[in-house]
Amino acid sequence: MRLPVRVETAATRWTVEGDPEHWAQLQALRRGRLPLQPWLEGLSSGALQPEPELLAALWAQLKRPEVERLLASGAAADAGPWLVAARQELPALVATPAVVEAWLEPLLEHQVQCPARQARQWLEVLAAFQDPRVAQRLRRVVLEASRLAIEPGASDGDLQELLPLLPLLGRQRQRQDAPLLLGCALDPGPLAWRRAALEGVALGLSTWPLPLLVPALQRLAEDLSSALAAEALDLLARLPQGQRALRALRTRPLDPAVAERLQRRLQNSPLVLVVHGRQGGVIPALYCDLAQQLSRRRGAPVLVQALTAEAPAADAAFWLAAQRAGSITVVPLLLLPGEHVRRDLPALVAGWRAATAGALPEGAGPSVGWRPFLGSWPAWQSLLGDVVREAAAGRPFAWLHHPLQGQLAQRFLHHLARVWGQEGVPAVEPGPALRLALDPEGPALLVPYGLAPSRTAESLNMEGVVPPSWEVLPPLLELPSVRTFLLDRLEALP
């Protein structure tokens, strides 16, 4: 028979739930300021009810013989209060050696001796401990339940009691459980069951083999349940190289809310725009404006690096964005395959790789990739043809380029001449060549082939350098269509 409201002993005045002093007494017990023996006696003899708060206060205090005594007594006849106490208290204690030493073996033994329903509840208590034997028992029960879950007509109600076991199996972090948990999440079945399985995946996330995990999460991201799909998407975003897996989802049929979530998770790489600087490495303001606008549109940092200067300082935000995106992209805003493209650029990329290794912990470093130089993009060549033809408005035109050496460069210039229907003129003493190409007396358009102002281009605007009937096109970046093209194309880069 259980005693009623209050139990008094010579040493301790026991309180029970509802007593104004009960909370303070349990706190004192939990903090080891009250002797344990009277409480143990009371519980073992049945004089005290095994209320959850009392059991919770005792978890960290008991030694193995005391645990064994309690589990063998009537206090352990009903697993219910133990389970409530375990949920509240055990998670923070299960890596404490003294707690493991006191509880694990007695619980393993006690759990197998209980009838089915009690055994399940004791298994949940036990499952707080990370141990291969515990994982094995959990696995067996989950496996059986998973068969029940996919039977036609299975309902949430049938599996309700077993739901907590799935996250607990995940917390065991046994790699071999990846197929079971992912299968439970993927297979048709009650939604609550599938979500509990996915929470199990989440709680052991770093354990699961990526070749199994990534495709399973990608499939789940397409699930009809948007909640399940959203969580799968968020888990993908947390994985190493998760951005790649997310990008693969862009063409998949996703729930609209999940597609929006995908957009939020896709992280653009920080860009490094490589440009011709001016003397002393000064970067023309046009490039800085472009980078600023681009950074806003991409939601990622954009740096400008002049070929003739040191690499710009990358701040914490740059490295964070690089880490999240998993990559840094170098984009050479160079128009011709000269020495800069062929020799300087690889060295510059190598410099970024070294900087990355220095700035971020090993294994966390993003990759550093680079795009072909801008002038080689077919879309760019086509755009420039249109821009020049439109600006020329029927007038003859000539384009003036940086002088280039070598066969490759010459072949490239011939290619551009074919695309634009006009040979280029090298910028070394261009006067005679230009006068050969264009009628000094008639109207003509002169196109300095450069994105930003350069010394050569500026000299053309000096009085007397070109005939007054010729128009000199401004730096290409000042042309709205060119600027728009660059912003759109660069924004679209991953």
């Binding site: 509802g18 909370w23 303070a24 509240q88 998670p91």
Partner: protein, 505 residues
Amino acid sequence: MAPALSKIEQAKAERCGLELEPQLAQLAAQGWDTLDEATLTIRLKWLGIFFRPVTPGRFMVRLRLPNGVIHADQLEVLADAVDRCGEWGSADITTRQNIQLRGLLLEDMAPLLSAMQAVGLTSRQSGHDNPRNITGNPFAGIDPEELVDTRPLVDAIQARLLADDAPRNLPRKFNIAVGGAPDSFLLHNDLAFLPADRDGELGFTVMVGGFFSAQRNELAIPLGLWLRGDQLPGFSLAVLRHFERCGNRQARNKSRLMYLVDELGLEAYREAVLAEFSGLGGLADPHDGQHRVTRAPRSGLGVQPQRQAGLHWVGLSVPVGRLDAEAMAELAAVARRHGSGELRLTEAQNVLIVNVPEEGLQALLAEPLLQRFSPTPGPLMAEAVSCTGNRYCSFALIPTKTTAQAVVEELERRLELPHAVRTHWTGCPNACGQPYMGEIGLMGAKARHDGQMVEAVKIFLGGDMGVDPKLAELHDKGVPLVQLVPVLENLLIERYGARRRPAAS
């Protein structure tokens, strides 16, 4: 022989939690279950990371937002972190003008801390035995009634207390606040600086020892010292260093500052702190403790004119301080769209959009977000403050936030009130929801109802944060939640001038 260190003191002495920061990614990879109890439940809190036994594996991060100031780009980073947690994610505005994020995996911590750093946020030393988020006047810098702009002072105190040479192992948590207006009620802090005059100069009188706990509740008392604003960081450091050295490390339930003041006596305590301050090159003047805080805090809700001509702040009621990712992102967007992008958080768990030009008010008031976060809430919702409750806290005996919201909404449906009534809801005797400060305080409890033990509240009445402040006193030791609405309804009618709405009578 020195007394043996308690388990908590041992854990703190063995290793400072700040050292864990570079290992966060590695700890996540090996799994939180493998962390020892001290690391999991104590040391991680030095980084602002809280293990939550109610949601094992889903952690909480508590930030530091000095003076409750946050910018849209910062709030967006936090919104993104919560968004990544899907349905597990949420955030609370706390009673220390702060934000805590919930539902995070340990895997989220390293990237989140980096992301926060990139926008100037930190969660450092926001939990356990540390100087907690430092509060100030939520209207600082924009307040027509302002006496002192508390923002630079609060920033300077935080910078000093988080510096490398500042204490990292206090005996207990420590709350500091700086007052800057006539309604800066701060006497629940261990150390409060209240605006005060001395010889015609405006500075601060020092108040010490305020705290609430399960064992004892005290309002801060005058220490009898006066400081200029530029002395606050150094003086705060002196108080903390003395507390670190002399505070009680044997009994955590007797380790808040007031116990040390009691132990030494106010005079001796003052002399000890002055000596510590002197060692830092500081010198404080004596003072009679009179100050310029004369009334209970304003809610700041609704459209309010700023000190700056043509600008307003708009205070929005966030029911019981609970936010989700979408609301956070939208708050940031609204602040950027209609104001300067800056937001303020209040101790009553509400939010202010500041620097809104006159001509932008109408558009702001038409924002759909304001359907949810009203600038003109009912008189109970406006000042309903709540702790986390048992959804996330294992101490709480009731679901405080949902209960508070449901009860307040129902009471507002039934009653008309002539003025706002401040209710403070807390889930357990630890009193995180500050029930003793409420005109009506409610504390989670258990009570017998129809032969069963059920969720209930103790009711406290009479908390006053005005010129003659006092703590609320116990009125009823156990009202089952199922009976709470009618009980509060009668209380509000009898004591606070409420009238039943015609349709409800």
